[in-house]
Amino acid sequence: MCLAVPGRVLDIGEKDGTRMATVDFGGVQKEVCLEYLPDLRVGEYAIVHVGFALQRLDEESARQTLALFEELGMLQEEFGDPWEQAALQAGADSPWPFADGPYAGEAAARQAATPEEAQEGRQ
């Protein structure tokens, strides 16, 4: 939640006297308040946190950070269904590695996990 996510401004308008924008985050679009970055223009990138643009960012940095956050699963956390995620977290079996106890040698053998496996572990 503390992590802000870079996004690209698609259009700008006004709502309740407040400068607002539609911002694209690697395919997910959200309404974003521009009051803290009023001179942001369509096509520019900014660091956006909980619906507020907080600082400009160059395009290359924005794209790299978006890719990293996607890899870390943070875009899913930010824009996915939180109830679904909470339910998974609350109810999912824990596939690794504690069924055999935390000190099991098997756990060490699995250490070189692929990102896909790590993602499974998270769910």
Binding site: M1, C2, L3, A4, D16, G17, K30, E31, C33, E35, Y36, L37, P38, I47, H49, V50, G51, F52, L54, Q55, L57, D58, S61, Q64, T65, L68, F69, E71, L72, G73, M74, E77, E78, F79, P82, W83, A86, A87, Q89, A90, G91, A92, S94, W96, P97, F98, G101, P102, Y103, A104, G105, A107, A108, A109, R110, Q111, A113, A118, G121, R122
Partner: protein
């Protein structure tokens, strides 16, 4: 450097690592303040790529983790009221209070809603004039300005059925508290980039000078973190202790002036309790007198809550860098993401969650009687 190929620019990563290896002559302990940095470090194995003498200590930079149990319990009590719509960010749903969490409150009939932005909560208040809408305002300096703007908007638009349950925290007093601790081992800080994109770097020079500790403003990408470590180690080896901005593409020295002005208007600095750590002077914000009408704690009577921290949870020590998650006896046994004892295991930015997610059990001391694990996996960092 087995995993260096995973970096976006492996050649640059190798150059940065070579430079760090060539610079280090003595042991140094650096603290990364931000939980997002912790996850990036663990995911990419950056701590294992660094020279043995450079230790990365995970700091208290997860707002979900440091929200005190008492505040969670107040949230649960308010959310349980039939006249209330309780709005929160999604990562608070499974943070354990005394005995339950917001997820359970909803299953018991509470109207708990997850919003992307605090402005969404304000819209819900506009659409439900007959109900009280409460937004759970937690977070560091990155989250406080959006929440401040939302309260400002509520006042401007005359929306009376909206209030904020406030538990905002500030990073510099936490750094101060860590440095003052007699057991502190931290010699340099990687400051949280996004916090600084709002606040600028103005609060740090005095801290760096007073505690003779380098503070390097650092981003989240693996190369950002390597560069932050490189600059911090270089300062330490030279005996320097200044503030250095290694994340200039997102952090301007003055921060975001409009956000700072709004913070100044809506909030005032106050002492704040940190979960597992205790009260840190001047480490939080509360609504200023002009906006006190929007304070959920004033609007609802939630005093006298009896909180009970699980005795087994050592997240306070983890948050202060005194203990690595895997060194806690409850890690992975009594405490898992499914059944967390503390927020550090359930929060997406928590250090315990990072260790669990990325299977950092190899860091555990393997008992002699256990099956001999592969050589690489028994390495203690």
């Amino acid at each position: 450097m087995k995993y260096i190929e995973e970096f976006q620019d492996p050649a640059l990563a190798r150059r940065l690592l070579d430079d760090i290896h060539a610079t280090v002559t003595r042991p140094w302990a650096l603290m990364e303040v931000c939980g997002g940095q912790t996850h990036s470090i663990i995911r990419h194995g950056i701590d294992q790529l660094l020279p043995e003498q450079v230790e990365l200590i995970h700091g208290p930079g997860c707002p979900v983790c440091v929200t005190p149990l008492e505040v969670i319990d107040k949230a649960l009590e308010i959310a349980s009221r039939p006249d209330v719509v309780f709005c929160s960010f999604g990562d608070m749903l499974r943070v354990p209070g005394t005995g339950r969490d917001l997820f359970q409150v909803r299953s018991e009939g509470g109207d708990v809603r997850v919003v992307y932005s605090p402005l969404d909560a304000l819209r819900i208040a506009q659409e439900n004039p007959g109900r009280q809408v409460v937004f759970f305002g937690i977070g560091f300096e990155t989250t406080a300005p959006p929440n401040a703007m939302t309260v400002h908007q509520a006042k401007k638009l005359g929306i009376r059925n909206f209030s904020l349950l406030v538990s905002h925290v500030r990073v510099p007093p936490a750094i101060e508290a860590i440095m003052r601790s007699p057991s502190c081992r931290v010699q340099g800080f990687l400051a949280a980039g996004h916090v600084c994109s709002v606040m600028g770097v103005g609060e740090y020079p005095e801290l760096a000078a007073r505690h003779r500790v380098p503070i390097v403003v650092t981003g989240f990408e693996p190369l950002d973190i390597l560069e932050g470590v490189r600059r911090a180690v270089r300062q330490l080896e030279r005996g320097e202790h200044t503030v250095d901005n290694a994340y200039a593409r997102a952090v301007r020295p003055e921060g975001n002036p409009a956000a700072l002005a709004m913070l100044e208007d809506v909030f005032e600095v106050t002492d704040r309790a940190w979960r597992g750590i205790g009260v840190i002077p001047d480490s939080g914000w509360r609504l200023s007198a002009r906006y006190r009408d929007f304070d959920a704690e004033h609007r609802f009577s939630v005093s006298g809550i009896n909180t009970q921290e699980p005795a087994e949870c050592r997240s306070g020590e983890v948050l202060q860098g005194l203990l690595k998650p895997h060194q806690c006896e409850a890690f992975g046994t009594l405490c898992t993401p499914r059944s967390p004892l503390g927020a550090t295991m359930v929060s997406s930015e928590g250090a315990c969650a990072a260790y669990y997610l990325y299977r950092r059990l190899e860091l555990k001391t393997v008992p002699a009687a256990a099956t001999t694990p592969p050589q690489e996996a028994s390495t203690v960092v």
